[in-house]
Structure formats: C-alpha cells, structure tokens
Amino acid sequence: MASLRNRWTLAAICILCWAIAASLLLGYYYYQYTDLVSRLERSKAIINLGIDYGNGTRVWFNGTRGLTLYDAMLEAGWNVDAESYGTMGLYVKAINGVEQSIEQSRYWTWWMWTNLGWAHGGSACDKYVLSNGETILWYYSYADPKTFEMTPPP
C-alpha cells in the first residue's frame, strides 16, 4: 500500500491526528478560559471608589467594578506604583504620580466607610475581595512616626 511505502504519507497521517487532538484541546481550553473570564466579569463587585490627595482634593469614581480593590483601582484608570511582597500582597507606593514621603511621614492607605466612620483597610489592596456597594477611599495619610498610627480621612 502506498501509505506504507511512503513514510512521509504515514507521518502526515500521524501529524493530522496530532493536529486534530491539539485543535480539540485548544478549543476546549479556550472555551473554558472565556467561560471563566465571563463568569468572573459577572461576579465583579460595583463599588464607590475615591481618592483623597491630602490637600483638599478628593475625587470619586462611583460605580467602579472589580474583583479586588487593586482591580477596581486599575479599572478606574489610576496609575498605581506598587511593590509586591509575595503572599502578603501589594504595597502601594504612589498613585497617579503622588509618591509616599518618608520624610513627611505620609503614606497611601485605604479606608472603608462604615456606620462608625472610616475604618482602616486591613489587608493589601490586591488581597481584598470587594463586595457590592462598598465605599472605599484611598487617602494620603499622615502617619505618626512614633506609633505609626494613620490619620483617618476627614
């Protein structure tokens, strides 16, 4: 039979099988990926996100969507300079060009609005999973150099 005499024909048939299998797997995983992305998109929370530069300028981005606070910051179009601390998450050093100042003891911190007022965010922004309707403010806080206690937003 010609296909046996010609090794290239046999190789072509085997490659065809491999191509079909690879295409099937590609199609399957592409579908899984797009399905997961669309599910995640639907599960994104809608929050009120604000930024206070500590100089009287406060800007709100209401209706911002995100899975984590970091997602929402990027979704709002902020320019975030952050450093990763592995499993602890991201440490934000600058937002929209305003950098932290060790000399002036001013740092970026995030705060959540509660019934009792502003509560300091307890985790790194990329580790905090948002819930619908939350109001979160990034504040360029003054930190007491001795106690390192942050000043809450006004």
Binding site: M1, S3, L10, I13, L16, I20, A21, L24, G27
Partner: protein, 191 residues
Amino acid sequence: MNWMDNPSNMFQSKKASLIAVTVAACLGSNYVLIGVANLKIMDLLVFVSGFVFGPLIGASVGLLVWAVYGVLNPYGFVPQIWIATMLSESIYGVAGGLLGKSLSIVNASGNRAGLSMLFGAMGFLLTFIYDLITNIAFALTFSVPIIAALIAGIPFAIIHEASNAALFGICSIPLITVLERSYRGMITWRL
C-alpha cells in the same frame, strides 16, 4: 442435491455466522466495559471484521451491534442517537473493509511498526468522525447548540480517540493475523 451442496449457500451461512459471532463478541465486550466510559473494544472488533471479511460484513456488524446495544442500554434509549450511532459505527467496518482490500497483512508484515502506526491513526481518525457525528446528533436531538455540544464533548472524545488509537495500533495486527490464519482458504470473498 440439498442446500449444503450449493457453495453459495455455504458462503451465505458462513457469512451469517461470522457476523453473528462478531456481533456477540462486540456486545459481550461492551457490557463488560459498561462502567468504563469511552473505552470500548467494539470499535476495534468492527474495524477488524471489516478488514478481514470485507466492508459489507464490517458495516453489518457495526449496525447490528448498535441495533442491540443501543436498545438494551443502561444509559437509556433515544431513537435519534440510536440511529446515529448505528450508522457511525458502521463507518469502522466500511473503512476497515476498504483498507483490507488494498492491504495484505501477510505482505506488509515486514513493516509492522508502520502498519501499527497506520492502524492507530485510522483508529484515531475514525473515532473522531464517529464522535463528531454522534455529538451533532445529540445536539440536534436535545436542541443544544452544536458548538456547545462539541466543546463539552471534547474531553470524552479525546479519551475515546486516544484509547482507540492505542487499541487499533497494538491489537489490530495480532487480531487480523489470527483471523486470517483461522479462516485461511475460507475468505475468498471480501464483500
């Protein structure tokens, strides 16, 4: 002169018995492997029966196996899928028969590795066609979008195709060799 003196009657009887025995072997193996999803030696047996005895007998075996297995099936009976599986299973027999007409195991035995690869690839491609047809039949029967049905069936199809590629590649040559030796002189026809 009785009916056994007529050689054509003899051949008809032999063909009928060959089909019956192969169908029985397929059914037995199917029920034994009922708990193992997408791993069946039925496809191999249908293909080999077509290879050794011709495409007509191969197709008949494929049709008859599913005629029984599709009705007496613990997973249920759906007429549209039953018809689709019967027709697609017969493809193994037809393809085996067409391959058998153009290929002699005895002549090609010097190139067993190449032959195994060819059979493995045939197993893969035929199973791909079988899965494609049956998945489309499933989608049309249950009003599922065809693309969704095909994508959802990919993991099962891959297992089915890979297992058949391995089975066809490894088992076809020994099985065909044994059958051709057993029926040497009898198989003057390949219908």
